[in-house]
């Protein structure tokens, strides 16, 4: 497999070129913005809950970013649909990384996880779910609002 194919697997390119969940949600139940100041990825996450106020009905994202960040966030929106906010708030990053399934350098790791960090922040803001320990206080290199 060529190096390009290893990093930019067909499934990544597919999600990049046809992102699932791309767009915004008016009147969203939860919302947050995230940026990767190291390289200029930006993402806005919108969440709509089902009638029970806890099950994630729909997640949409907008913003501009590299193929890895866009593809990862697109995959994420599919992964979390129908799951509870509490569960997703502590979704292990490895679960997303396994789904992405490509070798990622520390720099590109941040691209891949931007959507997940921002989603967890949205849930925290809307429902008070805990932020992962690694982000308690400081959000490291990511700028999350």
């Amino acid at each position: 497999m060529s190096e390009f194919d290893q990093l930019y697997r067909e499934v990544i390119l597919d999600h990049y070129k046809n992102p699932r969940g791309h767009g915004e949600l008016e009147g969203a139940d939860a919302h947050a913005e995230g940026q990767n100041p190291l390289c200029g990825d930006e993402v806005s996450i919108f969440v709509a809950f089902g009638d029970d106020g806890d099950t994630i009905d729909e997640v949409k994202f907008s913003g501009r970013g590299c193929a890895i960040s866009q593809a990862a966030t697109s995959m994420l929106t599919e992964m979390v649909q129908g799951r509870s906010a509490t569960e997703v708030a502590s979704l292990p990053r490895d679960e997303l990384l396994d789904e992405i399934g490509i070798p990622l350098s520390p720099v590109r790791l941040k691209c891949a996880l931007l959507g997940l960090s921002t989603l967890k922040l949205a849930l925290h803001k809307a429902k008070g779910t805990p932020l992962p320990e690694e982000w308690a206080g400081a959000s490291g290199d990511l700028d999350l609002k």
Partner: protein, 415 residues
């Protein structure tokens, strides 16, 4: 600037001086197009560092013993070289720092805190690297002064027509500008800006980090008051740089780092400061690195700054010509005749990060990001760009490989 006759440089031959080019990247020879962020080091500098540590190293200015005298002579000899490199009238005006960023912070804090207040205006530009933007913004805010930035036109050049408006904001006390923009390659008319600054009664601070390695610098001709540059961008080691400043200003200023060696006398009641340059060189300085900096000045001077400038101009023209054929290529910055050897660009529809990643797979190194110029990126309406930059060891084949990589990126990731 006077154009003097010089021999054309032979980049392929000079490349042999740089051991790094023996490295392979992913099985391919290194094509290094990121000298704007930092330059590689020739054997001549590496050997000097090693020899110094092996034969002459000691702490400087303190010992009475022979080894200390030898080390001191080397360190002060390096200072003379670096001072001459920018045509400083006096070597005691040449302070060794840890780099251009520290040099600029030194002026912002040690001069700024005592000289800026409400009603005063601190003027930077939209082109500034964060190191010549953030310290000024911070000190201005801290002291209640107004902070303003000269805007750019569509070519990425300063709009001199806005200066009158800026002068109305208050007492302009300091103007800070980069001689060469690391993001766009714009060459700023610093002499003109310095004249305006002095008319306003302001000091002129020049960030020469990007300029010093590639263009002749003459602080007397520029008529600036402070000038900052770094060793690592001009073939020297990291962790050392310089601040040139007018003696009258440096002498009147508060100190910056305090402690050993920058004092004259210390008692329980009071401490008095040492003479220039030592007043601003507290503690043990990067001694070997300063000596390496001196060796880098020798190397670059031998190659010839004029020859380097011309070499990069030729590469720039070649690069812009070849890049124009890349589908989706969008370039930023002034035309080639008004620009340094830097090309900032985007490929429409592909994020700069992905461009740089694909290029890296073929052993080509370029930069992707905001280049520590977020205000500029904002002005350009982009989050990030790709940047290719040249130096004395850059050869046309590296540009060819960049172009091939860009075509590939467009094919694989383009819309």
């Amino acid at each position: 600037m006077a154009v003097t006759a010089h021999t054309k440089l032979d980049a392929a031959k000079l490349r042999a001086d740089f051991p790094i080019f023996e490295q392979e990247i992913r099985g391919k020879p290194l094509a290094y197009l990121d000298s704007a962020v930092s330059s590689h080091k020739p054997r001549q500098v590496l050997d000097k560092l090693r020899t110094f540590y092996e034969t002459s190293y000691a702490n400087v200015h303190r010992g009475v013993y022979t080894l200390s005298e030898i080390a001191t002579a080397e360190y002060e000899g390096a200072r003379e070289k670096v001072a001459q490199f920018v045509n400083a009238p006096d070597a005691r005006e040449l302070i060794f720092t840890h780099g251009a960023t520290e040099s600029l912070n030194l002026v912002a804090y040690a001069w700024g805190l005592d000289n800026l207040g409400p009603g005063d205006v601190v003027v930077v530009t939209e082109l500034e690297h964060h190191s010549n933007f953030v310290p000024w913004q911070y000190i201005a805010k801290r002291n209640g002064a107004t902070f303003a930035a000269i805007p750019l036109d569509e070519h990425g050049e300063l709009r001199f027509d806005t200066l009158d408006e800026i002068a109305l904001l208050g007492n302009v006390k300091v103007v800070a500008n980069n001689l060469v923009s690391n993001a766009l390659g714009t060459i700023n008319p610093v002499e003109r800006l310095a004249a305006w600054a002095h008319d306003q009664g302001a000091i002129m601070v020049v960030d020469a980090a990007q300029a010093a390695p590639h263009h002749p610098i003459d602080v007397q001709q520029l008529d600036c008051d402070f000038l900052a540059f770094s060793s690592h961008k001009m073939c020297g080691p990291t962790s050392v740089g310089a601040l040139w400043g007018r003696a009258s200003l440096l002498e009147a200023m508060a100190p910056f780092n305090l402690g050993g060696h920058m004092i004259r006398s210390v008692t329980l009641e009071e401490t008095t400061w040492g003479q220039l340059p030592y007043k601003f060189e507290a503690g043990t300085q990067p001694i070997a690195e300063a000596v390496g900096f001196g060796a880098a000045v020798d190397y670059v001077t031998d190659v010839g700054i004029g020859a380097i400038e011309e070499h990069e101009r030729e590469l720039l023209v070649y690069a812009l010509d070849r890049l124009a054929d890349v589908p989706g290529f969008v370039g930023y910055g002034p035309p080639a005749d008004r620009r340094a050897g830097i090309v900032s660009f985007n490929i429409d529809g592909i994020h700069p990060h992905d461009v740089a990643q694909v290029i890296d797979m073929d052993g080509v190194a370029i930069r992707a990001g905001h280049h520590c110029c977020q205000p500029l990126m904002s002005k350009l309406g982009v989050a990030a760009t790709n940047r290719a930059s040249f130096y004395l060891y850059t050869i046309p084949e590296e540009i060819d490989r960049l172009v091939a990589g860009l075509h590939k990126a467009h094919k694989l990731l383009g819309p």
